[in-house]
């Protein structure tokens, strides 16, 4: 069960309870709004606030992510209370989510869209951190797996003369046994080093993302795309591995770019 709350103003609090089996209930100041709310499909659910203003719940299923549920009052997006904390940029006072100005110093509060953008950027930064951890973890695991494979292969190469040319060509290139041995011994270390470099870059980008999110998320997306393609070149079947996670991460990153760009252009 999930509860969403919108404090529209001092006189109107809208609550949406999402229960199992389609048991959803929408209340305005504790009074239930009649009618059935469907959350599966793209839909709208119009109702009235206590002062007669038009309110509308919009449901938008989104690709590779949770559905978006938003409340609009007279066409204006409302901030969900979970997006907080809501602090005035100028004086630091805690304000109500949908105040347009700070009650203490009169500073303009950002529009509701900003909170959504900030959340997207935060999610993208989290995705970059997750990638850093995955690269590090994956690198260590792959190191040990490859090492044991290489040990087996080296035993098989032991019987061959070092100057002999290995009968099978690898990716169109033929190697002598001695060169092949060298390459095999290097293989696990190369995997470990490459993944550590990637993990370090991602960690650096996640850190830099706090200062300039657009640049950091942009570079992280490019690097992740390159990593996926490189793996696909080495082993075409690897595209299918963890494809859902890949799509979710890329969708998250692209949303982060879009939101960071929106905030950048709004500030300017």
């Amino acid at each position: 069960m999930k509860l969403m709350t919108w404090e529209v103003d001092d006189a109107n609090i809208v609550n949406l309870k999402i229960g199992g089996f389609g048991k959803n209930s929408l209340t305005v100041n504790g009074m239930e709004v009649p009618g059935r709310l469907r959350l599966r499909k793209k839909s709208e659910f119009p109702f009235e606030l206590s002062d007669g203003r038009n309110a509308n719940i919009l449901i938008n299923p989104r690709f590779a992510s949770r559905r978006v549920i938003e409340l609009r009052v007279d066409g204006q997006l409302m901030v969900e209370s979970g997006e907080g904390p809501f602090l005035c940029d100028s004086c630091g006072t805690t304000v109500k989510p949908n105040d347009r100005f700070c009650g203490v110093c009169g500073h303009a509060m950002p529009p509701a869209e900003h909170y959504v953008h900030r959340r997207h950027i935060k999610e993208a930064t989290t995705a970059i951190t997750v990638l850093a951890v995955l690269f590090l973890f994956g690198g260590v695991v792959m190191f040990f797996i490859t090492k044991s494979h290489v040990a087996d292969a080296l035993i098989r190469l032991n019987g061959l003369n070092p100057n002999e040319i290995f009968p099978k060509s690898i990716n169109g290139v033929t190697y002598t046994v001695a060169v092949l041995r060298e390459q095999l011994i290097w293989e696990p270390w190369s995997i470990l080093i490459q993944n550590s470099i990637l993990a370090a870059i991602m960690a650096g980008l996640a850190f830099w993302g706090k200062r300039s999110p657009l640049a950091a998320v942009l570079i992280a997306t490019a690097i992740y795309a390159v990593v996926i393609v490189t793996h696909a070149i080495i082993n075409p079947q690897s595209i299918g591995q963890g494809v859902f996670m890949k799509i979710i991460i890329i969708a998250c990153l692209i949303r982060g770019i879009k939101s960071a760009l929106a905030l950048n252009t709004a500030d300017a």
Partner: protein, 264 residues
């Protein structure tokens, strides 16, 4: 007197007629100062510049397209390379890259054309550029010597061509001249100038260098090629021209080639 009266009766904003909070000094819905003695700030509207978002998003998508196409060209090269013996796939892929980059350079010809004018450089800046180029070559040489002594195997470009018996002149064009022109046009031309609309000059320089290093598809050369990207991008910023970085890029590639062929 004033305060006690405010606490007892409900107060409404004189401008927008909304109910005020008991202790509020400003109206939360229009930003109007309630206490007349404080200077009333002009209730300023929040503005979102939607048009600049749209144009910048379009530019980012365009760069994404260029990057994606170059990446898929490498992917196709990798796939063909499994069945066709080198160096034909490499040759075709660099031809495809050239085509892609020229199309995108055509899209952004307004920014590219001024970069192709002959630069007017003073003697001093020429000397500075030469010093930078020398420092760059020494530093990169150091990096690759370090990597080599650590035992990291590096892909040799030249061997694929020389094994097939191709002439040195053709190799020089394919390995040194063509990539220099194409990559400079793409990264220092299209990408850097486009990102200069969205970011400041420093961030645009960093991002294009990052994209440049990443597109070489090998984490081991990320640091060295990031340095290359920074150096070329800086040259392009200083001279507002692509030729110096093209020359240095071609020189570096030629040096690597000659080294592999044991001509140096």
């Amino acid at each position: 007197m004033h305060d006690s009266s405010r606490n007892q009766t409900e107060q409404y904003c004189p401008i927008c007629r909304r109910k005020l909070r008991p202790e509020a000094r400003f109206c939360i819905s229009c930003g109007r100062a309630i206490d007349i003695s404080t200077d009333a700030p002009a209730p300023h509207e929040l503005k979102q510049s939607g048009s600049s978002f749209k144009s910048h998003w379009k530019e980012i998508k365009q760069i994404g397209c260029l990057f994606g196409l170059l990446l898929s060209s490498s992917f196709v090269l990798g796939m063909i390379g499994r069945f066709v013996s080198p160096p034909w796939p490499q040759t075709i892929a660099s031809g495809a890259d050239a085509l892609i980059v020229f199309v995108f350079a055509g899209f952004r010809y307004r920014e590219i054309l001024p970069l192709l004018d002959w630069p007017k450089l003073s003697m001093r800046s020429v000397l500075e550029l030469v010093a930078l180029a020398l420092a760059f070559i020494i530093l990169l040489n150091l990096y690759f010597t370090l990597i080599k002594s650590a035992g990291v195997p590096i892909v040799h470009i030249a061997s694929t061509y020389s094994n097939a018996g191709w002439h040195v002149g053709i190799m020089l064009i394919l390995v040194s001249v063509m990539p220099a022109i194409i990559e400079e046009l793409a990264f220092r031309g299209v990408i850097q100038s486009t990102f200069e609309h969205i970011f400041d000059k420093r961030d645009a320089l960093l991002i294009q260098a990052a994209l440049f290093s990443v597109l070489h598809l090998s984490p081991i050369v990320f640091p060295s090629h990031f340095l290359m990207g920074l150096c070329f991008g800086y040259m392009r910023l200083r001279t507002k021209c692509l030729y110096p970085s093209m020359a240095l890029h071609a020189t570096w590639n030629a040096l690597v080639l000659f080294k592999e062929l044991n001509l140096l």
